[in-house]
């Protein structure tokens, strides 16, 4: 915030602009970044890389660090990641930037940002490598909300023993995000084994009838166990919901 006020003092930002930013409506050339959202909802705002030019993504990331102290960018491609890294390197050389190539998530913390910390664990479970992007988003958001995140990967329903091997880890969590594409049976199988709330995260794998995650979604909605679900590939939403549960647990 100091930076911003100094920018006003320096005439680089108009007072009107500053007011808007402080009120949570920071607007830059590439869109609007809602810095007040976290305060209202406890959920950090994320910037969706999809459909933005590298320059736009980078510009929004810089604004986010400036106004909210933190930037989270999801669904980035390599060009966007490079642009973000470069832009933050210039604008915020003292920011702490984490780039995850596999899930396409970039997180940056400004020097004065104090990340929240919750006494609660969120498990993020996947069946295979094709679940990496949405599961990675879920893990990143839950972590940014302060939860301890435990990744449990490669546990598919076609090989039950792998699931059974992880039973202890699964049961040690306060909330579970279980990603699955194709027929989407994994959350059902997991929810039958634990008493943690399970959030199903359907993944857009699969072709033909029920492809693109539709079979997985409808299978989770029809599950014969207890679980709630989010939309196909909505890793951000699943992770944030798990984070909200972690916050409730921590309270």
């Amino acid at each position: 915030m100091r930076e911003l006020l100094e920018a006003v003092a320096a005439g680089e930002v108009s007072p009107a602009d500053a007011e808007a930013r402080l009120a949570g409506y920071a607007t830059d050339e590439a869109g609007r970044f809602d810095a007040a959202r976290e305060r209202r909802r406890g959920v950090p705002e994320a910037i969706l890389g999809d459909g933005k030019t590298p320059a736009e993504a980078a510009s929004l990331a810089a604004t986010a660090v400036e106004t909210a102290g933190r930037a989270i960018v999801t669904r980035t491609d390599p060009d966007q990641r490079r642009a973000i890294r470069d832009r933050l390197g210039e604008a915020h050389p003292d920011a702490d930037v984490t780039v995850r190539d596999r899930s396409g998530v970039v997180v940056a913390h400004g020097p004065t940002f104090e990340p929240p910390s919750l006494d609660a664990t969120v498990g993020v479970v996947t069946a295979g490598t094709s679940d990496a992007v949405p599961a990675g988003e879920a893990a990143a958001i839950a972590a940014e909300m302060g939860a301890t995140v435990d990744r449990i990967d490669d546990v598919g329903v076609a090989a039950l023993t792998r699931i059974v091997d992880q039973l202890e880890a699964l049961r040690a969590t306060d909330a579970l995000v279980v990603a699955a594409g194709r027929e989407g049976a994994l959350p059902t199988v997991v929810a039958g084994l634990v008493d943690t709330p399970v959030i199903g995260l359907p993944v857009s794998t699969g072709y033909g009838h029920g492809g693109e995650g539709e079979a997985a979604l409808s299978g989770m909605l029809q599950s014969c166990t207890v679980l709630s679900t989010v939309n196909v590939d909505a890793g951000f939403v699943a992770g944030a919901q798990a984070g909200l549960i972690a916050r409730a647990v921590d309270r």
Copy 2:
């Protein structure tokens, strides 16, 4: 066949009618029963109870016993079952009639009917009581085609230990029909544990999005293991396909 020819001699059946029946196109007042189908395909003809009056169902059953030596009636309600039993009691008092209330299947063998017998086993697996009707149809048809049928019930994905308890039985079959409603994950889990061909049989349970068996069907089509499927509630088709595999095994 003797009966029929005697009926012709007695003037009760016209020669033209008799010819048609012998050729496999027996026609009575309630529809057409295709007695030649078994010869062509190895699959016995079944009479669908749904949408027929008790009298129609009973009449077709009697014709079937007369022309093919055997009647199989599926999806019967109690009134139809009573009518069939009564009619067969009168027309074919020496027939062997089996009535299954739970699955709604009625099977009758005329006195001279020689049921086929195959050296092969078909397993029919269900998760719960709501799968009884289509699974019962599948079991009845496979048995009528000569397979030994092994029922493995109450093994749902929400309680994996029950499945594991049945592993030996599952593996001892030559073909498996696995019925499942709701999210339909059971065939996928079973197919991951055996090397028998699995035929998924989606059941029309479940309401809301993906209900009426649509989620189960699309989940089976999207399965991350190897299995083939039939339409929702198509127990006859699943059982007959398993029966055809049993015939191939027996050859």
Copy 3:
């Protein structure tokens, strides 16, 4: 359990049957009641009234009280409620039976049943009277899992002031089930105002395109806020998921 063993002693129940019941697979004439489910999952088993005769529903309810100490029956019609009340009156005169006509839920506690109690609150929110059945199911299940349940009714999006009036109550919960039919906007609006995890519960109101709850479901999946959802009319699942969150909070 004593009752059961005495019944064995009296020759009314076979030892094999008793073993199955004690292991959690109590089977009576109308179906199977899985008394072990609560132990495994923390979620009480419920009996679905839909599609059962009054006698079947009553019989299962009595078995549930006998084996699990508690019966929860959902989607009952008046005839079923009468039959359950009568049967429990005979079989378990000392049971505590609660019948809710509006939501069709019946709950019975045997004399020795000790209901769980959690230090956590679940809010159940509705827009109007047509949400009564699934919302009532959700409330009953969450309460049976031990949560304090707070009903917040009649807050529709077409009259924002009613929602704003309830803001304090909404924010005082640890988990919220928000039921909505038609366009299903209420969970989105509520989730924008609180930092509690919100579980959207689409209700099968509305006709024409997107009717039967499909618009509500897809609107919740597409929500521009953070929430997870369950299938249309799946009040049991929504309430149990909220109950699992309450358990996590209480731990």
Copy 4:
């Protein structure tokens, strides 16, 4: 019209061609532009940029200015906008050309064109930047039909206070076009607050189930308030319908 007749006199346009154009069937190399539509319907004809080459779009724009005195081109990309500007600069240097990069709309008025003016206000409301294209089309068409257009942007349902802040502006209109993607709840919330006719404009944002604007469309059709709707992204239709209401108000 004078231009055209002079072109005939000059032999540049054949009398047959001129007759067709005057009758409203101007045909050039890239398609047909129906100059008579405005007279019949009160709705100006627009040229859809999508799927046309820059040259085709520019050619149709020039024809429109020539025959109708005005060109409106929607869904243009930067290349098309450049081509149109260049072509009009040559063919109609005295035309007044407005290019809106954000919504992709280009409007050109020939020197003698007299824009209509209505004593009525159309409000165009958006939730965020992703609604810019269809909302911009709606605003442009309503303005070209003579209405005063009031843009009210950035009022999403996830932050109710922004809507409430704009209540006075919303109520001061004669017709409202409310654009919304994702779950499409904004028109419902707005319509609950005003007594102006609201036209819902679903926007093709959102992925997964109900994505591409389908959830928004079905939510608007299911709205628990009173509103009518147009197809997904049909900004032209929404704006023209609002313009027709403005004309009715002005009469």
Copy 5:
């Protein structure tokens, strides 16, 4: 209102109840009637007969007359109409009750109710007798909002001359509701002939693919002319939207 206060005085209604009713939240045994809606939105509240017992419908109608001075009941069957007439005859013998058998709409005005009157005309157009119910709802609501309503029936697209015969009547309106089932082409054809805003009202006729009004709805959304639409059979919404336009025109 006097009646209510006297009921309070007489002890028949509690003060708390009275307060709620005066605030617009009248609650009786059959549901909730929102008397404040008209004040907020200019749209009268209607009671949906569908799914209510005759006694419930009659009770709500009586409450509506009592609290809002007027009752509008839609989708009534003959039993409901009889019950409403009887109940109002007892409770409000001086009310003016209009019962329309064809469209199933009942309207009752209490003795002191002053119906609004607008200087604007709404046309309601149908292709055939199967459009009677939703078109009748639309006409009733628009009339109750004060518009002059002009019914133009029996103008189907399969006989264009009938439409052309009505051109003058169609053009003399300020807003048009055009109902159509099957392929739903009538609103498109009408909108091509007039410059009045047209609201398409799809009707749930037709069977097979695109039946139940889905083809009509999608045809109206895809119309090559300008029109907005409402959901299938949503006669109330179409009429109220036309009434809101009439109010805007009258202002």
Copy 6:
């Protein structure tokens, strides 16, 4: 055929190959061209350009001229058209080649090919330029089957007078193919005006709900007049069906 036999004599084609070709199974490097189809069905075989390389399309066209005396290629792009023209120029310099850029249809007649001629007229009707491709295919196939083809363009339902102007031409045909996209109302309106059999041809225009021709198709299937339809963009099928009617008329 002579050519082929001479090629055999010359050793350029093996006898086995020649036999296959004479039997109607000409096979070249790019696929299979079924020269016998016309003899069996009266419908000329067409080569679908879509998804083929220019070289493949050209090769199949040359084979078609060689074996059937005629080649019809549909859905060609400019590169394919160039390749076909070049290849035929080399391989069959005396063939008569017609290239239609607008509809993407190429027709080539070998020197000895005798086109059929029928005493019957097929009308092909379109609403606008976006119907050009499928309508052009329909017209080409009907013409190649020997019908006189009458094109009636630019008659949209939004301007009824244009249709009425063409009434005489429409009525002078023996079969009508009526193409329409968007809401697809044109075949319904035309069929209400003539007593010729009308074949509806839905065109894949339109976006949003019911786009890609789905609204047009379902509207034609739901038409309140008498017409049959073909699939979206199936110009070949519509034209061939009209050609079969023309053949029936000519017999």
Copy 7:
């Protein structure tokens, strides 16, 4: 017509009513019967039994005989057939009434009605008894339009030899209506064997995915041969389209 004028003379029908009827808009208490349709379109008007009371159906049938000389009623149930027969027996004792129980079609010719006669044959083909209703409608309408109708029944794709047996009969027609439910393959197989125009008539048999005729319809639209189709169960439309082809052939 004489009857009508005498009724006018007798004061039983008002002159205004008579004029309407003569102009083709006969209106009676149960709906509107459009006697002019046949003159315009060559297609006789039919009365749809579905959804009418027996009295309504009978009344419309009597009006049809009176105004058009003929009544065709489709989709009748036994009660309606009895009522129609009784009413016509009273009102038009000299009419020639044909009742077909299997297809539910009733046809009545007044004494002076001269049925049309065409020199053309329409074949109506079915696979089994479940196609009886729509195929019977198609046959009745084509016959009423004057075509010779040839029924070819019991030719299913699962037994190709039956089809081949009928090849000569199939080829001897001028137009073919081919009805098929389930997978709907019959029209494709037939169209591959004849050069007559084939109209596919999908029948609403089959359950589960693609049931209710949807698979049959989409299979016909996707057919790899040439055929056009009508909507599911649209026997009237299929028969009338075949009748229009027969008229074209006869011309």
Copy 8:
């Protein structure tokens, strides 16, 4: 296996990695290859080319040869095939590599790999060239599982005689995979002629309604004969299911 252990000895692979590979979880830089799957299921693991870079596909193929002795890569494009061939040429110069351009399948056997051999025949049937990719996958997998594979191509339902010509070959198989796009009728017709189990393989040909294989899939599910099906284009699954049947036959 020896190679691997030597690599451990040589320090090129860590012991942990080796353990994982021996346990069937070989992991390389491009994903995970499950070498244990064949042992568990009898179905060889295949690498899906789709969506992988040429380098990734080649790397996984090399790992597969190393750990399982065999690589099967499906849905490869020419670049991938080239990369695989190159990489295997370097890494495993003594492997036996088969590349099928038409179906995009690559199979490589390491020098010590002993292919299984079953005494059973799988027939793979196609209607045309557009079925080549999934049918080729099915054939390759069945062959790799040890079955004798018999390809029967070019037998479409539009030309029944071709099917009849192949009857003997069709009947000589133990299991049949029948591929078909468009209306998908071929498996139904074939299954009516043989008593071998038929697995329908829908192919994603066809455009418009029911295109992309949806009509074929639903037609197979609705088939009036006995067959099971797999998802659209799921050649791998169909071939593996046929292979499992062959294994059962061979036992």
